[in-house]
Point group: C2
Chain length 325, copies 2
């Protein structure tokens, strides 16, 4: 890769990639130009660091590329916006095999397409380990953003997508115990390597929308805690609606707690939202609780102690299943 | 910093910072919302890695923060756009002093303000060394972007801002020879630590604009080489218009070549543009050459061999003065 040089590598990365309709000017100039039809755009950025957010011995380059785009796309959808474009800054060692870059790039493009958008440009620099910094843009289609602060007492809390599977996959990769192969293990590993946020479940534009929404990236309790605090309300979850029986044998084999995975595991990038009580939930959503007066998050009325989620600097040791160590 | 935790640190970073008018929804949700009044936005991203793009023993945290924003803001201006907002993904070791983060953040905000914009949000993760990934947005104010591809034969080539000063500062920091203190050395060091692109010289909106423009980040010859190639033209530079006599004593003391600094040193983030021959150049611009038929960049008619610029993977050893090693 050091032999190819930056400009040849950038040409290789861009070769045969056709930017989508939201990209008015693609790679090759000082900057790109992206459409923002309603005069605003949603923007979010996330950085993934090798050894911390992914491991090359646990995930393929393609999976890592998909994950990097997926976690940013999920943040855009969580605002009620449709992704319009991504830009990617990539740092990598000079001895990185060019096939690794190709795999990352393939994964990023595949997930960008799945999210309905394309990659508008980026930066490529040398760094001691792989660092992937993605910035994602979205189109609100003339509607206000769906923030975390609009939940109201009597709303129902619902989720789209799976919870705890990425944490289970990480525990299986990280655990000393060998686990018998099977569907649950395969799905957990796949969920950890490349989450599949259920983009299609998120209402966009004129579709009936929730009062408040977030993606589940720090863990359900932590993310609903942020939503409850921003809205000035309390959330009570109903455990039977959350329980994942398919994870329980895996948890038993790994000497872990499936409930902990479901309630505090991040990285599944499911969507959690507070919907009006009278709403007909769209396909893909299931009710998991209710909004009330007060503050904090309870499960069947019982407060859960601790932050119960993923925090970049403090939580590493306290949040099993939430990071690649 | 590990003691504070991610969420407390993010609160600290955002405390007392008021987003500018272009930021419709600031930090604190899954994503921010930024204005794009003419239905499009310019976007560029650059990653800076500790030890490669900056050194903590050579630059203050504030300077590093300013540089990270400045090099992105310069790319936005180089499209003929006014910066509207920035987002920043920051990776840092768990033992990073919180004062370092404060300094970076102060520098980023100061330069964002100087560029006419503010910081809309970001991400904070743990990484083995400091990594700063900035994405910048700009408003074209209803005009087409000024790309690199619009130069035409008989255009004049002009530059706004200084050339070679950042490379001189880096050579002074990197050199074994002690150099006598003086104004030139101080200015060169300052230019390397925190470039000051002449934003105010760039025409925006309805002001008369150049046919093609770029910022000088890889070195004048390399960047004009890209512009010439994109436009399908040749560029001939006039050395007497480029010579920086104030750098010559410094170059002599460092056993270096001031012409090399001026022609191939990146990181000053001056602006270079091809203007119609009949244009009255705005304040801050000086003519340095002419566009002709053909291809490539010459200096007083003589081709310069080699790429003569900064390339991330191949150029490290070949481009003195272009990176922090």
């Amino acid at each position: 890769m050091g032999e190819l040089g930056e400009f040849a590598l950038i040409d290789r990365i861009n070769a045969g990639r056709a930017p989508g309709p939201g990209v008015l000017l693609g790679p090759g100039d000082d900057a790109a130009v992206v459409a923002a039809p309603d005069g605003r755009f949603v923007v979010t950025t996330d950085m993934l660091v090798q050894g911390r957010h992914f491991r090359l011995d646990w995930s393929s380059p393609r999976d890592i590329g998909r994950k990097a785009i997926a976690q940013n796309a999920a943040d855009v959808y969580a605002m009620g916006a449709a992704p319009s474009a991504f830009v990617v800054a990539l740092g990598c060692p000079a001895d990185t095999p060019v096939e690794l870059i190709d795999g990352l790039n393939d994964g990023m493009w595949a997930e960008a397409r799945r999210a309905g958008a394309s990659i508008a440009g980026g930066d490529l620099v040398r760094s001691p380990e792989l660092v992937i910094s993605v910035t994602a843009f979205g189109d609100l289609r003339g509607q206000p953003p769906v923030t975390r602060s609009g939940a109201r007492p009597a709303d129902v809390v619902a989720v789209a997508g799976r919870l705890g599977w990425s944490a289970a996959g990480l525990a299986a990769l990280d655990g000393a115990a060998a686990v018998e192969r099977g569907r649950a293990l395969d799905e957990a590993l796949a969920a950890h390597r490349a989450p599949q946020p259920p983009y299609e479940a998120v209402p966009l534009g004129e579709a009936p929308r929730p009062h408040a929404m977030t993606d589940v990236s720090d863990g359900l309790l932590a993310d609903l805690g942020h939503l409850a605090a921003a809205s000035g309300v309390a959330v009570d979850l109903h455990w039977p609606a959350l329980r994942e029986p398919d994870l329980e044998p895996l948890a038993a084999a790994l000497n872990a707690d499936a409930a902990q995975w479901v309630l505090t595991g991040g990285e599944d990038h499911a969507f959690a939202a507070a919907w009006p009580a009278e709403a007909d939930l769209p396909a893909g959503w299931r009710v998991i609780g209710v909004v009330g007066e007060g503050s904090g998050v309870t499960v069947d009325g019982v407060p859960r102690s601790g932050s119960g989620g993923w925090e970049s600097f403090r939580g590493a040791e306290a949040a099993p299943g939430a990071e690649a160590r």
